[in-house]
């Protein structure tokens, strides 16, 4: 096993309040890890620690770079970390407004990362944007439309295209299907599942929807009050939860 990312005893406090505490796991290339738990359990905090947007009070995140070196994120310069974030990583936000430039066309949104790494050929950038629109099932005729003219589901798909254009190996998703209609959700989940499999993406997915976790993830971390209280293969955790709290979560979903 040669993990892509390793969390080593990550803790983060907001004053006296626990954000998350002593979280440890390893993520393999191509693996989808779901972080589930109730509101306030520390999911977003953990995601921000993993992606270097938040510095831990203790612990470390080690990431294996494309050149094979494994680095503590804290040892990267800001320039290196930002380059990593816009080339080898992706971020899909629940609120598309945080992940898209709403005043820029769909093509410009997808092209931004390419231009950010130095592509200076308009025709090539546009071709690439077309291809990615197609891949996320957005009519290529909409390439010059702004995300403000898109539906919620389309915005999420555009976010995904915008991120995947540089072929990242790891994508962070925070409630990517939150706030969408059930049928729109289902289509988006299908798309994500297909892309993850085709591209061999590793994903850290935050959700409090166990059905989403069931559909997309290989493994689950269950969080409560900033702690990981149960971890394991998705089917095992959902079909045979060991902890009382997880049992409660699972049964309340089944009851709903």
């Amino acid at each position: 096993m040669n993990p892509l990312l390793v969390a080593e005893g990550l803790s983060k406090f907001y004053g006296a309040r626990i954000g998350c505490r002593d979280v440890r796991f390893a993520l393999e290339p191509g693996e989808v890890l779901a972080i589930v738990g109730e509101s306030g359990s520390g999911k977003t905090t953990l995601l921000n620690l993993l992606s270097g947007q938040l510095a831990p009070d203790s612990g470390a995140v080690r990431y294996r770079l494309r050149d094979g070196r494994t680095k503590n994120l804290l040892d990267l310069s800001e320039a290196e970390r930002r380059l990593l974030a816009r080339t080898d990583w992706g971020f899909v936000h629940q609120d598309a407004r945080n992940g898209l430039r709403m005043g820029v066309s769909a093509g410009g949104n997808i092209g931004e990362r390419l231009m950010g790494v130095g592509d200076r050929h308009y025709g090539r950038i546009r071709e690439n944007a077309m291809a990615w629109l197609g891949r996320v099932e957005i009519d290529t005729g909409r390439i010059d439309d702004k995300p403000t003219q898109f539906s919620g589901g389309m915005r999420q798909r555009l976010q995904i295209a915008r991120n995947l254009v540089t072929h990242p190996r790891l994508v962070f998703m925070d409630e990517p299907t939150g706030g969408l209609d059930v049928s729109v959700q289902a289509r988006l989940l299908d798309l994500i599942r297909g892309l993850v499999a085709d591209l061999g993406l590793a994903v850290v997915l935050v959700t409090h929807d166990l059905a989403v976790a069931r559909l997309l993830s290989h493994r689950i971390l269950v969080m409560k009050d900033g702690h990981v209280i149960e971890a394991g293969l998705t089917d095992r955790v959902l079909d045979d939860p060991q902890e009382a709290y997880t049992q409660l979560l699972v049964s309340s979903v089944l009851a709903a």
């Binding site: 430039r101 066309s105 410009g108 990362r113 231009m115 790494v117 308009y122």
Partner: protein, 297 residues
Amino acid sequence: MSRTAENYRGYNFAYLDEQTKRMIRRAILKAIAIPGYQVPFASREMPMPYGWGTGGVQVTAAILGPSDVLKVIDQGADDTTNAVSIRQFFEKTAGVETTTETGKASVIQTRHRIPEAKLQANQVLVYQVPIPEPLRFLEPRETETRTLHALAEYGLMHVRLYEDIAQHGHIAKTYAYPVLVADRYVMDPSPIPKFDNPKMHESAALQLFGAGREKRIYAVPPHTKVVSLDFEDHPFEATKFEQPCALCGAKDSYLDEVITDDRGGRMFVCSDTHHCETRRCEGHLGPLGMPVTEAAE
């Protein structure tokens, strides 16, 4: 009349006190040392409103010496209200000699143009700048634009140009066209027409930019590489005019459209009034021009 640095007709020389001028000079020196980088400075109230070139005026005030010869242009013209009032301001507060002749000036303060005549090593061009931040349009957060400059993350600039091409089929930006200075900082050249952009490249003159309201000074030192941003398949092109100047016949100068009567009559003439006059005095004549002897009142 003596022109000491301390006092001129009851004003401190060039209006600003010496301490303020030193502060501005320090900012200018820093700006010269880091070409294209926006240096913050403590912009002062000037006896004219923001938007009237208070940034340029402060820079000019800080670099002016008693033996300097000052030219002030607004959109290329020496005789607009703005240009005249700034010129008079320095005549009054510094007693310096002023001129309309580009070649004679040691300091040229400008709004929206670079003179047509090639500037020389002993000249300083001072630009009035309304908005110094080229990334503002796409990234309103100042903390973020600073980081983007610090890390030279300029993909956004090209997103802006991409949007132009997607919308118009070409890069539609015709003024304040962004440039990369000395292969490092992306800079807004102030709202000069992109026609003037090539003149900034490797210019022998020192170019200083002052933004009063936004409290920023930046610079392009002499003989510095200045490249207009573009795409390989949509290269930068300076504006070309289809006709020559109606008065002097110049084919290589920047033209303004001038309404000649109230029946929709119009003609295109050099925006650089001194350049046009000089050419006419030399005997060049455009399709609507009159020989200089007759034209003179």
